[in-house]
Every structure is written in C-alpha cells, then in structure tokens.
C-alpha cells in the first residue's frame, strides 16, 4: 500500500473519500483499474488532469508512480 491517490473537488465526492492508498508501482492502466465506475470515467476525461508529487503531467497516460508518491486527480478549477 504505497501510492497515495488524492481526489480533488467533485472527484472527492465521487470517490467518497479525499485520499486512498493503492499498491506501488502505479501506471495509467493500473490507475484506471483501481478506479471503478464514474471515477474511472472522470479520470479518462481530457479535462481531468493528473499530478505526481505536485507536478502536473503533460500526458497523463505516461503516469509512473512508485513507493511514497502522491498522485492527484484534478478536475477543472473553478476559481476564486
């Protein structure tokens, strides 16, 4: 149990929690497998971005996370 998933904004509502741990290592296919139903659909949407340890991925399908990494799922921002 070593990669932390963080769900932001309405994705936390879909997930039912703000954070969850999954096994390392984690790639894009592994992430989708770990996210059932609407959460997986949301992750696939272009406007949902992925960051690893606070760094945004230009292409989220290149995700490679290991032991101790934090993977954030970021829906579109809605400003201040």
């Amino acid at each position: 149990m070593a990669v932390r998933l963080v769900f932001l904004g309405k994705l936390a509502d879909l997930a039912g929690v703000g954070e969850r741990e999954v096994s390392a290592p984690l790639d894009w296919a592994g992430l989708l497998a770990a996210l059932p139903g609407p959460l997986g659909e949301a992750a696939r949407q272009d406007r949902t971005r992925i960051a690893v340890n606070g760094a945004l991925l230009a292409d989220k399908t290149t995700l490679q996370a290991g032991e101790g990494d934090e993977v954030a799922l970021l829906p579109p921002v809605s400003g201040g």
Binding site: V6, G54, L56, L74, P76, V77, S78, G79, G80
Partner: protein, 148 residues
C-alpha cells in the same frame, strides 16, 4: 522587489493588508489593488474553496513571480482564502506597487485573471442544504486569453 503570497484558511482584512503593503512601498508612485469578495447572490448561503496543498500555493507563488517579471512592478501581494466563506467575506486580495500606474494596474489585472481561471481552487456553493460544485466560466477563459 518584494513578493508576499499567502494562502489563508482564516478571515483577513483587505484594508489592513493594503495599508501595510502601502507603508512597505512608500515612495513608489502607484498602488493598485483588487479585492474579491463573496457576492450576495440570491439564495447562496456560503461557498467553500478547496485547495491542494502540493500545488495551490506553489502555483500562486509562480504566478506572482511571473507578474513581477512581466510588468516590472516593485512589489506584489497575493492573499487568497480557502475554506468556507459567507456573503461579503473577502476571498482574494491582489495588490501591486510600482513607479507608474499602468504597470501596477496591469499586474493586478493579470494576476486576477490567472487566479480566477488558472489556479488550483475548486469551488462549491451552499443553497439550502445542498452543496453544488461550480464549473469554470467561459468568461474566465476569454479573460485569460487576453494575456497571450
């Protein structure tokens, strides 16, 4: 050149912050500021702004650096609330001090456009007992495109 960027989870008083920022930049000719507050808007009782520890404040700091470099202002202040707020409560304060008014006004305008549509905040509103997530506004994206 001074940069002061804060992400707060408790209330702040914009006029007090403007006074302090002005005192720290006495002798520069111009100080522009923008205060964004929760609108009194029909039946919205509260709004909540969520942020992401690993990205929101670092993103605001990078934005401040970009505005300082781009407009050549002497000082830039960005204060942004997170958490639950009620109508009338301040959400955001941006202030810029410089020798000339154009650069100060443009730095504030630029920073506000980017804070509204290009920073890591998620907003939801409380009406009655229901929280509703707010989607991005098309206007915010067209504002952003002004800066090329």
């Amino acid at each position: 050149m001074s940069r002061d960027v804060r992400l707060l989870t408790t209330p702040f008083d914009p006029a007090t912050e403007i006074a302090a920022f002005g005192a720290a930049h006495r002798g520069f000719g111009g100080l522009c500021s923008f205060i964004g507050a929760v609108r009194l808007d029909g039946d919205v009782e509260a709004l909540e702004l969520l942020h992401y520890e690993a990205m929101t404040l670092p993103g605001m700091e990078a934005l401040a650096d970009e505005a300082l470099a781009r407009f050549g202002v002497a000082g830039l202040l960005i204060i942004h609330r997170a958490g639950i707020m009620h109508p009338g409560d301040p959400i955001v304060l941006v202030a810029a001090a410089g020798r000339h008014r154009r650069e100060a006004i443009e730095a504030v305008d630029f920073a506000m456009d980017h804070l509204k549509s290009d920073s890591w905040f998620w907003k939801r509103e409380l009406r009655g007992v229901h929280w509703t997530w707010i989607e991005p506004r098309a206007q915010d994206h067209s504002d952003l495109s002004r800066w090329g």
